[in-house]
């Protein structure tokens, strides 16, 4: 069993669907932090069999839209003075702004410097469409 130190103050993003941990890391731009960040891939999970976990020291605020977009099954545990003080789940965001980019070469966003905006078109299937050209975003 791999041991990672517990964190004193920060957050633990638990129950990330196995394989999505790195995507969460990238889109939350955790590489830009200079605090301790641990990514655990394919940890055992009673519920899902396997899961990814990210532990972030010294940070208590994250972009909930980003996390909800990648994995709304994840759980965010806030740790203060070594104790769990809050447990929350992100929600699937209605709108994504500058999180992902439209891949349609005919879309105006391919040439114009504007916000990349997507809206949720199918909550059940987690599908998003570009606000400009309406092309579906393929993960």
């Amino acid at each position: 069993m791999l041991n990672i130190d517990s964190i004193e103050n920060g957050i633990v993003i638990d129950h990330i669907t196995a394989g999505r941990g790195m995507r969460v890391y990238e889109l939350l731009e955790l590489d830009k932090l200079d605090t301790c960040v641990a990514i655990i891939k394919n940890a055992k999970s009673g519920k899902f069999g396997r899961k990814d976990i990210i532990k972030i020291e010294g940070v208590t605020d994250i972009d909930w839209d980003v996390l909800g977009f990648i994995d709304d099954h994840a759980t965010v545990c806030t740790i203060r003075d070594g104790k769990l003080v809050e447990k929350k789940q992100p929600r699937l965001p209605e709108k994504l702004v500058n999180i992902v980019s439209c891949k349609n070469p005919r879309c105006i966003t391919s040439v114009e410097n504007v916000d990349q905006v997507f809206y949720l078109c199918d909550e059940k299937a987690h599908r998003y469409r570009c606000r400009y050209c309406e092309q579906e975003y393929k993960k």
Binding site: R106, E112, C121, C130, R131, E136
Partner: protein, 313 residues
Amino acid sequence: MRHLIDPLDFTRQETDRLLGLAEKIWQSPGEYAHRCGGKILGTLFFEPSTRTRLSFESAMLRLGGQVLGFSDAGSSSASKGESVADTIRMVSGYADIAAMRHFKEGAPFVASQYSKIPVVNAGDGGHQHPTQTLTDLFTIRRRRGKVDGVTIGLCGDLKFGRTVHSLIKSLVRYENVRFLFISPEELRVPSYIVKEVVGPSGHRWEEARAMEEVMPELDILYMTRVQRERFFNEEDYVRLKDSYVLTPEKLRAAKKDLSIMHPLPRVNEIAPQVDNDPRAVYFEQARGGVYVRMALILTLLGLEPGILDGEGA
């Protein structure tokens, strides 16, 4: 300030009132001949278009207004790298209303975000063409007296045809519409239109590979052109361009009161012999487009209150 970017930007009630106004203008054009005196329409055509540009210009001129603009991206400042946002900011100072056609999908929406004048989407890539949709609805309404209950066959390029997508989105807001999608396998209506637009609406729809299969059932046959510019390679275009050509022989099984529509320009998908058939309404449809655009210009300029919600009659 309202814009028309997507055919659904107007509610069904607003659309119906606008089409009613278009009919009034058609009946009494003289009453409207000077309503836009002193107003200017900017026609920003980043992509060439004869019909749409001329019908917008004709509409404004018939209302007594004036027109300025450009008819391809090469003669605009876009060729120098100007953004859509900057172009519309500039035009906002030169015109009172703008009609924009752009090869990039979503460009008129971007323009509407920065504009100080009403923006009309005159076609954006393979995406939307709302004034064509209004014209189509106007034609269906004139021919049948109402849109409700129509059985419409959409034939040809249903994949890239923006007029088709816009029309479907608008038709689902009416009652008891039946869709028959007639196309080759390669140009089928996109699955998202079926899943997100037609499916949830509860309207009946079917697909056919040949127009003869469904001809006797149709009230409207909406033909479309297989457009060269929507293909990435010439071979696919050449192979599919002659699919689904309407001829007098194919029309023998059709209803007497069928209406054959086409957004034009037609290439060879309707044989010229069909033009004399009283059921061929595509030139009347194009003429109606001018009255629809006249109604739209008056409405968006606020010169005809009572069409859009929240405006007093």
